[in-house]
Amino acid sequence: MTKSKLNLDTDKIAKARELSKQITAPVQKYIEKHTTVAIERTTLRMMGADGVDSIGVPIPNMVVDQIGDHICYGAAKYYINALLKKGVTPEELNNEIANGLDLTKIDFVDFSYIEEKAQELVEAFATKVKANVAYRAEKINTYKEKENSPLLYLIVATGNIYEDVKQAQAAAKQGADIIAVIRTTGQSLLDFVPFGPTTEGFGGTYATQENFKIMRKALDETGEEIGKYIRLVNYCSGLCMPEIAVMGALERLDMMLNDSMYGILFRDINMYRTFVDQKFSRMINSFAGIVINSGEDNYLTTSDAVEKAYTVTASQFINERFAYESGLPARLMGLGHAFEMNPDIKNGFLLEMAQAQMASEIFPEAPLKYMPPTKYMTGDIFKGLAMNTLFNFIAKSTNQGILLLGMLTEAVHTPFMQDRFLAVANAKYVLNNMADFSDDIEFKKDGIMQTRAKVVLDETIEFLEEINKTDLFNAIESKMFAEVSRPKNGGKGLSGVAEKAQDYYNPFYTYLENELNIVKEGNKL
């Protein structure tokens, strides 16, 4: 560990953490009392519900639709009951559902059988996921020294999974450690997950379990060829947040974009829906050893990065707290931030460095996800390249964990294959050329950088205090984040939230709570 450069007041950091705890507490209470259609579909998927009917409706959606209001009891028992009553495998059951079988029309067996079968299904699920975790751990361990530090993260975004594969494999060969398959515009607002391999997306490719599988296989192959474990990323975000988490757990994804508030603020998804969904999604990610990437960078695409830097830091604290509450350890928290200041600012580099260093000192165990310049990128690709160079410089010298490589054509098009190559080449050059720079310098006491970090931390605390006063729901409504207002009962997906019945039953949720040692808000005192 490098010693502190910023000389931040540790009491203040503790204070911010305490405030976040207070801020998230009422939300946790709400979360515990509710389930959503997405959570139920997720639970169904964990048991093996999969596939689509003749018009493309996914089985989990069909089941949840059948259950309707009764999801307050949990969907699990309906599906398990059917399995038992019909004496079929999940695959067989899925077929029957596709052909019109209505699960609510089946009489219930004795609950003890359901519990017993649940045990078996939970185990089957857990075994699969644990095997994935073990496999990943072994590969990463074997190939450790080939990894870049920070890990180099590259996106593919052709819209066609097969083209994505080509580009991803090329990127991996060029030196990428992480490949993110960007998701098509609009998918986050779908209240179902499309099925099968897809070749038609705009600005990205549909997240489907089959696409995950195709890409996973391709990256494993290339990984073996070059002797490296290539991490795969997708989006655990939008109206299907937990469902995608479970698909990722099963297909051995390694990272997921997964933020506690992104959907609310940037996709106008209802806040209650989002908070409830994100918890379960994070429990799954945690169990599957998947690193989450939070989305603080998004604030800066609309707000000014200098003025609103504190919103980023505040959101990191909140994301951290929500993550802890979902059993996610710090080593899986890819908290986000970004290099988004106007390049014309005098000493902008120092402000960026202070911010990045601050994140790294406040969250020393978290593999921070550092996003490249996007907003101030223009068609001047040569200037863009220079900005990316300084960005890479800061990433290395502030010890970031995950380096999302900037594209010189950011303002022009989704990346060309050559753009990606140039980005990797640039990062490799910079990271190696100034490898130990950070260790070789100290920041001047009360200099520009120390002062800046102090100011931002103070502003963060002030902001968290305000939020705490009004409560998080009201804060979001009153435009305190990202300069947008999201009414509590507005946005998409609220109708998919249901209060849990007293005898709500979800063996997977319970299993994960135990596995992850999650103490319920209700049991805390």
Partner: protein, 242 residues
């Protein structure tokens, strides 16, 4: 006047290029890059750098010199080159249209990029240029992002819009063209096309393209609110709108 690119001597025709070819890196690949350059009309082509992107792709940096030139005098731009400013626009409306005009804008389809349309419409504006909401003689309604074409038209009718502004940022697989075309067709189907000034905008949108798609004008990167405001009011005046 015939012109061609200038590297370090007038008319040397020097151009820098970079591209990827779907072939393995080799001397043959370099030669292919040169031939490609020649086929584009370069007399001298040098591959100054090439390297593999994978086993099947090679990246090239190429410099070429061409004798191809264009006649600058014949270049026509249908661009609103001059523009009234904030005060000019308001005065123009007061004098010529003599009532507040209504402008409705949105980032339509599945496009969620609000920053561009906000720059044009919001109070605050962009780069020290006030947005349309601040214009005393304009009633501006910014519907935000991801607005379906149908909703946009409904809203425009309801608000009695004089002008509609559409922003399109995502252009991959020509999604913007599909979307802009659909909008105009819907508008025509409603019989409203000639009643409203309709402008498109976005970093990849040019005036030419917009005209081709049936819009009154298109506005690209670096547009300021007064540019489009000025176009709208002059167009309205030209059409005799009162």
């Amino acid at each position: 006047m015939m012109i061609r690119p200038y590297g370090d001597t007038l008319n040397d025709g020097a151009v820098q290029m970079s591209f990827t070819l779907p072939v393995a890196h080799s001397a043959k690949a370099d030669e292919a890059a040169i031939l490609f350059g020649k086929k584009l009309g370069f007399k001298e082509v040098e591959v100054v750098h090439s390297n593999p992107l994978s086993d099947e792709f090679t990246f090239f940096v190429v410099y070429g010199k061409t004798e191809i030139s264009i006649d600058y005098d014949k270049v026509v731009v249908e661009e609103v080159e001059k523009s009234l400013d904030f005060y000019g626009v308001n005065n123009f409306i007061k004098e010529n249209i003599k009532r507040k005009i209504v402008v409705v804008g949105a980032c339509s389809g599945t496009d969620a990029h609000t920053v561009g349309i906000d720059a044009i419409m919001n109070m605050k504006g962009f780069d020290q240029h006030y947005g349309l909401e601040r214009y005393p003689m304009i009633e501006a309604f910014n519907l935000g992002a991801q607005v379906p074409n149908e909703d946009l038209i409904k809203k425009a009718i309801a608000l009695k819009a004089d002008a509609i502004l559409i922003s399109q940022i995502v252009t991959q697989k020509d999604v913007h063209i599909q979307n802009l075309t659909e909008f105009i067709e819907l508008l025509e189907a409603e019989g409203l096309r000639s009643k409203m000034v309709v402008c498109a905008g976005g970093p990849r949108i040019g005036n030419k393209l917009a005209l081709e798609l049936g819009y009154d004008a298109g506005f690209g990167r670096g547009t300021y609110p007064e540019n489009v405001a000025s176009f709208i009011v002059e167009k309205m005046h030209e059409r005799g709108v009162k």
